[in-house]
């Protein structure tokens, strides 16, 4: 949408809410993308750190 007049936020960003609901589920430990996830989780890396390696 078009920015309304007079809209302002710190550095143009306004956090308003947060995620409301999540469920605990188990990912199937299969496939290249899971293995990448496991690698990140075990080394406590973020996505962007992982991208750089």
């Amino acid at each position: 949408p078009v920015l309304p007049e007079g809209w302002a936020g710190e550095k143009d960003f306004n956090p308003i809410g947060s995620l409301s609901a999540a469920t605990q589920r188990t990912i199937e430990p299969v496939g290249p993308h899971f293995l990448a996830h496991a690698r990140r989780a075990r080394h406590k890396r973020t996505f962007s750190e992982d991208d750089r390696i």
Binding site: G9, G17, S18, L19, S20, R25, E28, G31, R42
Partner: protein
């Protein structure tokens, strides 16, 4: 995951994917990242899970299956389900025509004469039977590959208990096979498709219907960024391949009695065994052609029997089973709290999935947007009998370089059990023609495991200017539009079931025209954050990246494509 035992070093492994089924098993390996299913020395890719002893010689696979007619007592079949089970919890229905399982201190055992004549028959535990059978499979794979197979990934049903898994691993270890990992069957099927070079990783909801011989398993899986989360499963023993065989057995047995006025061939064990084998091959022929023959030499009382059947007649007789499969799939979609409109793909796996009618029925059950991946409905479908083995082989090749401890740690629940967001996360967009109607564009779909990162491009305003990016949660729901004219007197109480029942029938119902229209719509939920991207050029796009962290905090970045700067902000965890 495996118990300690012989564990080869990662460099010395030769790995295969192994499917150990109740009726058939298969083996596969990977060559240059492509999975290939291995044929055994009989030339079979689907190797019957049967073990038979004749004069002290051991037979397995197709050869052993043929001995179900002449040597049923020394032939062991349908034993996979018994691995790791107590005797009192097993269902021996399928074993009536072969060696019967019996109770030895709670352990399921078979008594067969596996030695030369005039020796006491041996009592083998189901674990020992499994070890012997797996050894034959490994030998077949080793001979084909020219080197000794050391390790494998084995597929298991989703309802396999830890006890069953442990027993299977032990039986495999006893056959000198290292089990790298046990993977769930529906996930193996999806991986077989997703690992193809032409496949792209997408966020989608997949239903995997694994239609086997003695059981049918259906699973609803959320495929998110190439990671799979099982949302619901269902297992059924009433609607499977053997029930289709039974339809043909009954059909031809009746025809035989009518023609020759003799004893019912179903009442004689040997005649029934012949009927069963021939019915299965006729069924397979009917999956490929529209006509098939059925012939048995000396069926009963020395009479030969030859007949034919066309596919239409077969589909009519088997209608009950087909409808059962439809209901099974509908039920599991409902169990996952979803609607058929939510399903993006249905993957048919297992031998019974070759049946064209089943795929066609599902195409009618699901909306047109749903892809039914089966040979009858999709040109690029992989042979459904080979899916699991391919998936297992691919997984085996992915992890063969890992140390055993690495595999155990990576597959530990602490790593795999994470939060999945319950609502979709996306941005509010305006329709191109109507600037006042707001709609929701999902970026991170519901049931995505966190941490997750998604990038989406949304169109900027037509005339350029400043853009407000509103990140909101979205909930999908099904909007039912009732047809306006001629309402029937009776109200449709169960609207959900109603129209799907109609689509089961291939004959068009008379109230087809009145069918209510159901569509999936998004409801805009609570706003998570707002960001401004200023001075966007005319007609350009804005790239929005949403990263949901493990603690459910959200990082929002937005920038104009080709532009400089952009905004970045963090929403705190709830």
């Amino acid at each position: 995951m495996a118990e300690t035992g012989s564990r080869p070093a990662p460099g010395d492994r030769t790995v295969i994917g192994l499917v150990f089924g109740n009726s058939n098993s298969s083996i596969a390996y990977t060559l240059d990242e492509k999975a290939e299913v291995i044929a055994n020395e009989d030339g079979d890719r689907q190797i019957p899970t049967v073990l038979s002893y004749v004069d002290g010689d051991e037979y397995y696979g197709q050869q052993a299956k043929a001995f179900l007619v002449r040597n049923p007592k020394n032939t062991i079949a349908y034993f996979k389900e018994f691995v790791g089970q107590d005797f009192k919890s097993i269902d021996p229905t399928h074993n009536h025509a072969s060696a019967h399982p019996h109770d030895v201190d709670g352990v399921v055992s078979f008594t067969v004469n596996d030695k030369e004549e005039a020796v006491e028959p041996s009592t083998l535990s189901v674990s020992e039977v499994t070890t012997r059978y797996l050894r034959r499979l490994i030998t077949a794979a080793s001979e084909y590959l020219g080197k000794t197979v050391t390790s494998a990934v084995i597929t298991v049903p989703t309802d396999f208990t830890d006890k069953q898994k442990a027993a299977l691993i032990k039986a495999a270890n006893d056959a000198d096979l290292e089990v790298l990992q046990l993977i769930a069957e529906p996930v193996a099927a999806i991986l077989a498709y997703d690992a193809r070079p032409e496949a792209t990783v997408e966020d989608k909801i997949v239903v995997v219907a694994d239609l086997g011989d003695t059981r049918s398993d259906v699973a609803v899986v959320a495929s998110r960024g190439g990671m799979y989360t099982i949302l619901a499963t269902s297992h059924d023993y009433e609607f499977a391949g053997c029930h289709l065989d039974q339809v043909l057995i009954d059909h031809f047995a009746k025809e035989f009695i009518k023609k020759h006025n003799t004893t019912d061939p179903r009442e004689n064990a040997r005649s029934l065994a012949k009927l069963k084998l021939e019915a299965e091959s006729t069924k397979k022929a009917l999956s490929l052609g529209t006509n098939a023959s059925f012939s048995i030499e000396s069926l009963i009382e020395g009479i030969d029997f030859t007949s034919t059947i066309n596919r239409l007649r077969y589909e009519m007789s088997a209608r009950k089973v087909f409808e059962g499969i439809n209901r099974l799939i509908e039920a599991v979609v409902k169990k996952a709290d979803l609607d058929v409109l939510d399903i993006d793909e249905v993957i048919l796996s297992g031998g019974t999935s070759h049946t064209p009618r089943i795929a066609n029925n599902l195409a009618a059950l699901f909306p047109e947007s749903t892809t039914i991946v089966a040979p009858a409905t999709c040109a690029t479908a992989i042979n459904p009998s080979e899916l699991l083995a391919r998936g297992a082989a691919l997984q085996a090749s992915l992890i063969q370089e890992y140390d055993a401890e690495d595999i155990d740690q990576s597959t530990h629940p602490a790593v795999s059990t994470v939060k999945h967001i319950a609502n979709a996360l996306g941005v509010v967009t305006l329709a191109a023609d109507d600037a006042s109607s707001e709609s929701f564009t999902p970026i991170v779909p519901a049931e995505t495991a966190v941490p997750a990162r998604r990038v989406a491009r949304i169109a900027g305003p037509k005339n350029g200017g400043d853009v407000l990016i509103r990140v909101v949660e979205g909930g999908a729901h099904i909007k039912v539009t009732k047809p306006e004219p001629k309402q029937k007197a009776e109200t449709n109480g169960a609207k959900d079931e109603d129209d799907s029942d109609d689509s089961d029938d291939d004959s068009s119902d008379e109230d087809d025209e009145e069918e209510e229209k159901r569509e999936k719509v998004w409801r805009i939920g609570n706003t998570v954050a707002e960001a401004a991207v200023r001075d966007v050029k005319k007609g350009s796009q804005v790239e929005v990246t949403l990263t949901v962290n493990a603690d459910l905090s959200v990082i929002v970045t937005a920038r104009e494509i080709g532009g400089k700067g952009g905004v970045r902000g963090v929403v705190k965890a709830p």
